[in-house]
Symmetry: C2
Amino acid sequence: MNPVLEYLAQHHERFVRDLGDYVRFPSISAQPQHKPDLQACATWLAERCRQLGLDTELCPTPGHPVVLARTPRQPGSQRPHFVVYGHYDVQPPEPFELWTSPPFEPRLSGSSLFARGASDNKGQHLAHLNAVEAYLHTGTELPCDLTFVIEGEEEVGSPNLAGFLEARRTELRCHHVVISDTGMPARDLPALTYGLRGIVAVELKLTGPSRDLHSGIFGGTVDNPALALCQVLAQLRDRRGRVNIPGFYDDVVSLSPYERRQLARLPYQERAYTKFLGVPQLAGEAGYTAWEQRSARPTVEINGLTSGYQGEGSKTIIPAWASAKLTFRLVPNQKPRPIARCVQRHLRKLCPPTVRADIHIGHGGEPYLLDPRSPAARAALRALAKAFDREPVLLREGGSIPIVTEFQRILGAETLLLGLALPDDNAHSPNEKFDLDNYAAGMRLGAALWPELAAIA
Amino acid sequence: MNPVLEYLAQHHERFVRDLGDYVRFPSISAQPQHKPDLQACATWLAERCRQLGLDTELCPTPGHPVVLARTPRQPGSQRPHFVVYGHYDVQPPEPFELWTSPPFEPRLSGSSLFARGASDNKGQHLAHLNAVEAYLHTGTELPCDLTFVIEGEEEVGSPNLAGFLEARRTELRCHHVVISDTGMPARDLPALTYGLRGIVAVELKLTGPSRDLHSGIFGGTVDNPALALCQVLAQLRDRRGRVNIPGFYDDVVSLSPYERRQLARLPYQERAYTKFLGVPQLAGEAGYTAWEQRSARPTVEINGLTSGYQGEGSKTIIPAWASAKLTFRLVPNQKPRPIARCVQRHLRKLCPPTVRADIHIGHGGEPYLLDPRSPAARAALRALAKAFDREPVLLREGGSIPIVTEFQRILGAETLLLGLALPDDNAHSPNEKFDLDNYAAGMRLGAALWPELAAIA
């Protein structure tokens, strides 16, 4: 047996105790009163990094500090360099009454450790740190240089991460970024998340009369802005569930047969999924599976509608205006700005001359795609297979992870998303837990990943 | 000259002073603190009725009292009987700062008397009372019996009027009800309002998932209830501006060529109307004039839309539900219940199986139509012509006047709507005024009307 894996197996109980210590810090970045707890948590983590042999800095930012920890470097090292990202801050635990045990008192039950932050994300990056400890304490040479960047503001949108990366751009230049902060589709189904959807937000407001009008006195002679809005928005999706805007699909990269075969391996039960969402019937773009629809195909959604009278009973008005908040989920290679322009152009065309249209383009985020047949992706898949002793799956996520595009923009590096969370880990919910089998598998992943990645770098 | 008209001309200044006294009462039915003012106002009015020679009762109701005043009856009178309706309560005067002079201190300026309630409705029914005074004080025989019903709760929906009419049903049995509480389309253009639109309110709520869903994680596999709502509502009106619901027009009585000719006489300037409403362009059912569209054709309006996130910025959700408040304006002979059923049936048909539809039928009101060529209508038109010395027009109103249908339901009598308000009288707005020329014309109308109506009763 390889000494690194042997070390990890031997020290498993201590690693679980370490995680228990780590999750005791109520490092809730969204709540200002917890600022000292974030500082204490970062200090604990930095000390832990130093103990295992990393050159560690506690780097202040305008918000909570970043823990920066490097494996010892040989002078003038030409070895491949990888950055491991994680975050020590956690979601607020409220509502407390739904927790079976206090959120910041770790509780072991079966193969799970229950605590806020256990899965998202303390357990996941601690697994990587433990793997490095095993390398260093067994005298096994790491085939690469590693830098851990563990921030304290992920749950509030990482407002200071980009600035930090810009400031440290030279020393953080690397071959790849590795993040374990996503999920696995099921127990024993390790996954490489190779694609993320992007997003662009658009707000449309239609204004008709200069004030709400009496619908009896004037109704019949003016357009109703709420009805006009419905007639515009109704046209944005066709009967096959496609976004009905000219040019919208121009830059969409089709799923390859290989990707579709891989996505088809993901577990899916229509009845259970329908019940979980509580919908009477699923709906989506014709010709695609649910996994494809929710992660690899673009969408249009109305996030909110506002018009006229919304209280009890009725008010017989023609409302002066009506508005809708829209978001479009984007897939590679759609870009937020060109898509926003094509949405805007089409909305202007659809709006009738009987109302005035105001269109506001909101935030945007680019989609992300790592070639799933690239050497790095294959290396990550081999490491996953070794760590879990299972054939890993390829996964796309339907949401965005803005830091991934930040790493690409600032460091020019692609990210390997190797999540360890299970679907029932209750991230962001009461009774969050982390599976200790996955904790151990995460450590074995750390052990296997660096030789695989270094070999292809 | 006829002694009644002579009397009215001679006493004009005193009648103006009377109106000034009457409007000093802040008889604001919507504001509980004004209850004593309503009582005082009703007492003043009852006293005024007694002075001019009417048998007067101040009738308590669960709300504000009704003033009931009868012309002296000959024992066993077989003369025709008419009811004159009015209301002594007024709209709240707020916002005070927009009034040029205090709302309850009458101010004469040019031919106008400014005060809250001057036009709506104190001046209008006082004109009728003055005409009766002229009959009685000149010893001119009235050709009919009259009963004035002046209530104090019109501006709050007349909650106790139906009960009062039911209780007095026998003594109030009459040939026609006369109400001067509507408007004239322009100065010197007296009008008989012979039609009103009805209404039915419907609320539609579409529910999809059991809670708001993350649009990244789940978007693409479930319908968006807000978009589904838009796609349903968009179909309710066609490109020609017609309500697009099977059966909706089945009971609509077409405008006769006579009516269309009459409505075409009404003043209308498209540019001024467009500017007044503040819309970029008018819109309405193809093939009808604006006057026809707003008073004699049915409509569908969305009064309010509610779904998802409505605050600042964006929230990337698929909302769990979306709802709309709708009202349909009805024209003779559409009935609220059958129309509600046909709307409900069609909405159910339009709603896709991917959402659950809840449809709530709200309040309804029947449309009203008096045959404009009936003897009573012709008699009223003759009286208007005499009083104003102008050819009167026939008018329909686009709104509803629920008491009109109540009079029909409870007393079995049709109502003649002979409004004296001008479009710029600012009813319900700051700086309400009543035109004193119209006040005088209203008295002459009262003088001319009873012989005309009695002759055809």
